[in-house]
């Protein structure tokens, strides 16, 4: 860049002959155009692997999911590739199914209650561990255990602890004079049971991110506040919480998306049952596609698309809120 402009200015200043002055500006411009095109090719060349990766692993599956949902794919059509185009029939089928209102309500309750508690408990723990004390490192590490366990292990363990007849939770309840609660087998408590397990699973994620956010708050702010004689309560609500705003926003958004797509925990603990009692949209999608002997890919893909749209909407809401926040 610098070499080119230097040459041009030298030539322009040193040029005396009329013929050379008319030709001189033309040549470098052509050269510059060549260089420019080459640079663009270089840029494209370097971006190509990424573009190819995005196309193969993101665009194609997404397109395929939409394709599945607008065709009538039974197993026969799936193998032979001659599924009939049905437009939005599969979406209508999903929206009018008996399970739809239940699944939608369960998804809302499961997601919102889960992230509310995960965030609340995660934030409380982060603040607690922020004031370093003896063993705080060890304790904090222990809180990460749920994150380290394979999901299938932790969900099976929860299912075992919540077992109606010989689960440890009922044993404790009964030891204190309570009566047996059919956590996983009663339509009244199944959703609560899977939410409890999911909250436990999500706390470490919230703890880690919020803890990192806390460490970014300059200690001078706290020192200044201490000089002003702030109470611990004010300290949290006036300083910590407002300064954690953007970290909180991204934690809640990620938590929302993670919770929206939870299948494994619910599937291992209740398979969405009894009946539809703990059925969420993602579990329903999985059940349609892989939960029975007769895979129904089209409605499963339609539910999947719906989930993507919901996640996108909340993503945009997040961006919007953040932009408004930045302005103010």
């Amino acid at each position: 860049m610098t070499t080119t402009s230097a040459t041009v200015s030298e030539r322009a200043s040193g040029g005396s002959a009329a013929d050379s002055s008319s030709a001189a500006p033309a040549r470098p411009r052509r050269r510059r155009r060549v260089a420019h095109a080459a640079r663009r090719w270089t840029a494209f060349g370097f971006a190509a692997p990424l573009l190819a990766y995005l196309l193969v692993f993101y665009a194609y599956p997404l397109w395929r999911n939409i394709d599945l949902s607008v065709h009538d794919y039974n197993v026969r059509a799936f193998v032979q590739g001659n599924a009939e185009f049905v437009g939005f029939d599969k979406f209508v089928e999903v929206f009018t199914a008996d399970s739809f209102p239940t699944a939608l309500l369960n998804t809302a309750v499961f997601t919102l209650v889960s992230i509310a508690f995960q965030y609340g408990i995660g934030l409380a723990l982060a603040v607690f561990f922020h004031s370093s004390f003896r063993l705080s490192g060890v304790l904090r590490a222990l809180f990460l255990v749920p994150w380290l366990l394979p999901l299938i292990v932790s969900s099976s363990t929860w299912a075992w602890m919540l077992n109606s007849d010989h689960g440890i939770i009922n044993s404790v309840l009964e030891a204190f004079g309570g009566s047996q609660i059919n956590w996983l087998t009663s339509p009244d408590t199944a959703l609560t049971a899977v939410i409890i397990a999911n909250i436990w699973l999500g706390i470490p994620f919230n703890l880690v991110i919020l803890y990192a956010g806390l460490q970014n708050i300059p200690s001078e702010v706290y020192e200044a506040a201490a000089l002003d004689g702030v109470t611990p309560w004010q300290r949290f609500w006036r300083i910590t919480f407002p300064l954690l705003r953007s970290v909180s926003g991204i934690t809640l958004l990620l938590g929302f998306i993670y919770t929206l797509k939870v299948v494994d925990v619910i599937w291992v603990m209740t398979t969405g049952g009894p009946g539809d009692a703990s059925l969420t949209l993602s579990v329903w999608s999985y059940r349609e596609a892989f939960g029975t002997g007769q895979p129904d890919f089209s409605p499963a893909a339609a539910i999947g698309n719906l989930l993507i749209v919901i996640a996108l909407v909340f993503g945009f809401v997040h961006l919007r809120l953040q932009r408004n926040g930045d302005k103010s």
Partner: protein, 417 residues
């Protein structure tokens, strides 16, 4: 100077494009054909528990050697196997041989991805009709069962003796419920079974359903209601634990092995485990509502040969299948799998000669019924889902047995029309 720079830029651009192309090429070639080699035959089965070097793996390899080829065996669990088989068929990369769970056979056959036994030139005349039925779709047979298992009731002899119950007295639903009452009065637990919301739940319910005389095409019949009422009654009386609603067959078996339960419904595959239990065990047939042996559903895998573009491969495939389905072959499979009853009379006789104590299981298999038979075929999975949902709703108390079954019938009718 400028020249070399632009050449450098072009070169790096080319390198980048080449790298991109490489990624694309790698992504595309991953779906290439797998069965191109004429000396290597691919084999999929749902037995990941039998690893390389196990008796089963060696037996598969031996059948390949006999046919003059090498068998490349891949084991996946049973649900994943069906999905992978469908995907492979879509890509045109089906393996030469698949061992698939019997209710999946009609689903796979429906797609047109399986060759028939006639095309392969196999003889299936010796196979028990009730067992072969699961492999028949619209009059064509698509595979051969390599063995069969089914359900019966295991009992804890110590508990029954303590409660003064003679296992031989359990001949119908009333006498079984009686026995449960006596056992629970004596302070022990009654019966455990699997009523989870998957195919296993329907599988365990069918002996009672069929034992009452109900039919899968009419889920809301009074007979069906009686069967579901029986299970619901056991739960309400405390004869069966509430956890049966989420129990898989494995969990059921673990509960039985604690020694706290008098009875457990389970399959042939637990014979060895029962013998090693820390208490006396025995087996009785599942009773029908008014006596007699209730037809239990058959379990077990079929050996299938997917359609290949290179039809020359069929001859070798046939030899491999034949090697697995001789009477000696059946007995060998039966003992490897502790226990898998051969699907032919010849094979059953040979097995009984070696292991006479398996008589009740051979009887049970002879009385058993394929889930997809009665010409249900690919409707079965849909009906089964409606049925297990009804079981879940009734047992958990969300609906009465009658309402749950009426809903199931409506759902099944809507989905199969």
């Amino acid at each position: 100077m400028q020249h070399s720079r632009s050449r450098y830029l072009t070169r790096s651009a080319l390198a980048g494009v080449a790298a991109g192309a490489l990624v694309l090429a790698a992504a595309c070639s991953s779906g290439g054909d797998s069965g191109g080699d004429s000396d290597t035959f691919t084999w999929w089965d749902p037995y990941p528990q039998h690893e390389e070097g196990s008796e089963w793996a060696e037996r598969v390899a031996a059948c390949g050697e006999e046919a003059g080829v090498t068998i490349e065996r891949t084991a996946t669990d049973t649900t994943a196997l069906t999905n992978q088989a469908l995907l492979a068929a879509q890509e045109g990369t089906s393996p030469d041989i698949i061992l698939a769970d019997n209710p999946a056979v009609s689903t796979l056959a429906e797609t047109g991805m399986l060759s028939t036994v006639d095309e392969l030139g196999l003889d299936v005349s010796g196979v028990d009709e009730n067992l072969l039925a699961a492999g028949v779709l619209d009059g064509e047979t698509y595979g051969i069962p390599i063995g069969a298992n089914t359900l019966a009731i295991y009992y804890n002899a110590d508990i029954l003796e303590a409660a003064g119950v003679d296992p031989a007295s359990v001949t119908d639903w009333a006498s079984l419920t009686d026995a449960l009452a006596k056992v629970t009065d004596n302070g022990d637990k009654g019966i455990t079974f699997a009523a989870t919301g998957t195919e296993e739940g329907s599988f365990q319910f069918l002996p009672w359903f069929w034992g009452a005389g109900a039919d899968l095409t009419q889920l809301d019949s009074p007979e069906a209601e009686a069967a579901l009422g029986l299970w619901k009654g056991w739960l309400d009386e405390g004869y069966a634990p509430n956890s049966v609603i989420t129990n898989s067959q494995n969990t059921t078996w673990e509960e039985f092995l604690t020694g706290e339960f008098a009875f457990a419904v389970n399959g042939t595959w637990q014979v060895n485990s029962a013998a090693e239990a820390g208490f006396g065990t025995g087996v009785i047939q599942l009773p029908g509502q008014n006596g007699g042996v209730a037809p239990a559903p058959t379990g077990g895998e079929f050996i299938l040969a997917p359609v290949q573009t290179d039809t020359d491969r069929y001859d070798t495939s046939r030899q491999i299948v034949e090697c697995m389905t001789t009477p000696e072959g059946f007995v060998e499979t039966a003992t490897t799998f502790a226990y898998y009853v051969p699907p032919t009379v010849e094979g059953q006789d040979a097995l009984l000669e070696a292991e006479p104590e398996l008589q009740p299981w051979v009887d049970a298999v002879r009385a058993a019924k394929g889930r997809t038979s009665d010409n249900l075929g690919t409707d079965y999975p849909v009906i089964s889902e409606a049925l297990w949902t009804a079981i879940q709703n009734a047992l958990s108390g969300s609906a009465s047995p009658a309402d749950a079954l009426a809903q199931a019938q409506a759902d099944a009718a809507a989905a199969t029309e």
